[in-house]
Structures are given as C-alpha cells and as structure tokens.
Symmetry: C2
Subunit: 129 residues, 2 copies
DNA sequence: TTGATTGCAAACTATTTGCAGAAAG
DNA sequence: CTTTCTGCAAATAGTTTGCAATCAA
C-alpha cells in the first residue's frame, strides 16, 4: 500500500495525459503511449492511471458517459460533455458558495461537487446539418 | 422508430422504478421485477428502461460511477452519490441562474446541467468506524 | 535484496444484439 | 395482419486480476 515507484511506463503515461489537452479515456491513453512504448500492455496503462490518480498527479473524472476519463490539468474547473460523441472540454464556472461548498446533505459527509454541462459539440453540430 | 407499446413487462418495470425510491441500477430493477414476473429476461429490462426513458416516463441518470441508474421521479433535482457504495440520494439545491441556465460554452450548444455531490453515506460512515 | 510493477492471458461486469416466436394494436 | 416486443443465448466493451518474470530503490 505504501511505496509508489515512478517507473518508465508511469512517466510516459503521465506525460501523455498531460500533453493531451483532451480528456482521454484509458484506451486513448493506451494508443498514445503505445507510439512511444509499443510493448506496454493495456493493463499497465489502467494500473498506471489508477496509481497516478491516487498520487494526485492526475485526475480521474467522475462523470456520466460509459468510459472513465483522465485529466492532466489539476487546476479546478468543470466540464461540458458532448452527448453525441462523448468529447469533454473544460469550462470555467463561477461557483457560488451555496453550490460549491461541500456540506452535509441527507446525512452524507460531502467531500466534493461536480458540475457537468451536457450539450452538442461544434463538430457534432456540423455533422448534424 | 415510432410506435411505443405499453406491454405488461414495461408497465411492471415502470412501476418498480417509481416505487423504488432509491435510484436503482438495471440489475436491481431486474431483481425487483423478477419477483412479480419470474420469466422476464434481463435484456427486456434493459430495453424497457431505455424505451421508458426515451418516452420521458423515467429518467436515465447521467452520472459518475460504473453502472447506469434510473429515476422514477421526474421532478427536477440533483444528486449526492456515495463514493464507497454507489448509493444515490436526491438533494434540493438552489441553482443560481449563472450556473443553472444552459448557454453556449466553448462552442457547445448546452442543453443541460447536472450537479453531483460526492461523499460518504451514513451507512458507510458507520461501517468505517 | 526485496517489495513493487510489468506483460500476458484469462476473468469479470455491465450492456447490447440477432433471431425466432409471441403479443399489441 | 403487421409491427413491435420478448426471451434466450451469444457477443461486445471496458476494466480488472492472477501469476511468473522483471525492475526500482
């Protein structure tokens, strides 16, 4: 449970998530990393993403949609997700305190608050026409 | 694509989601429905939930976590999700207009906004001690 | 050295699909 | 009747796990 080791694989996974300014899924990270390390396994990518998120070096996005996504940008922000293609982009939202501040709700000890906007991204708007 | 038929199976699925004041997953709905219709198949439950959501008779929750959840309560509200057990409860949140109102964001045509609180539910708090 | 990590393959979980027969309208 | 729906079984998609070999500290 203790010693986290920064292996070559984990370093590459981290770098790729950071420079992908998209919010890649594990599969997408795998494809990116594979260009530099063809022999890495998908399982290692999953385990690396998990371990890096646990270290707080990247963020695992807790949002709707089927697949999990990862974000190398640790600055606090919210997201818009395209309901058609699943693409996720950052948005700056002024969160008024009565929304943002974690508090007791229904007996839950609240630790976080996520705002997710849903919509149609520019590309899908174009495709739709 | 057109004619929706209210079959016996769909009626039971709808009733069970409505009276379960939890926010059941497809598997949970299957278990509930099976008590009244032992021969129903899981595939039918999935297809019924999908069809009923498409009719607007229940709501498919777009939120974090592994499994999809369904909500028979059509009144607008937000949710708290337990990060340990996945349980979801309703919360009333006053959404200030600058947060709630769909608008253009990053070129997206925004159609909705979800707020999800994350935390630890009372039961898991007790277990943790 | 020694516990943590990797690659591989197999296992799992949640969900979807093809199809022939059954039922709704 | 005709079209939609159901049950079953098989197929997918995404993610996780067991294990022996390998590597970081």
């Amino acid at each position: 449970m203790a010693g986290f080791r920064m292996t070559k694989q984990r370093r590459v996974v981290l770098e790729e998530v950071q420079k992908a300014h998209s919010h890649p899924t594990a599969g997408q990270v795998y494809e990116l990393v594979r260009r530099r390390m063809p022999r890495i396994s998908l399982a290692t990518v999953y385990r690396s993403l998990e371990a890096l998120a646990e270290q707080g070096m990247l963020r695992k996005l807790e949002m709707g949609g089927t697949q999990r996504r990862f974000d190398g940008d640790l600055y606090v922000h919210q997201h818009v997700r395209c309901v058609l293609c699943g693409r996720v982009e950052n948005v700056e939202v002024e969160l008024p305190p009565q929304v943002a501040v974690p508090e007791q709700k229904r007996g839950f000890e609240v630790t976080g608050c996520t705002i997710e906007y849903l919509g149609v991204c520019p590309e899908c708007q174009a495709d739709g026409q």
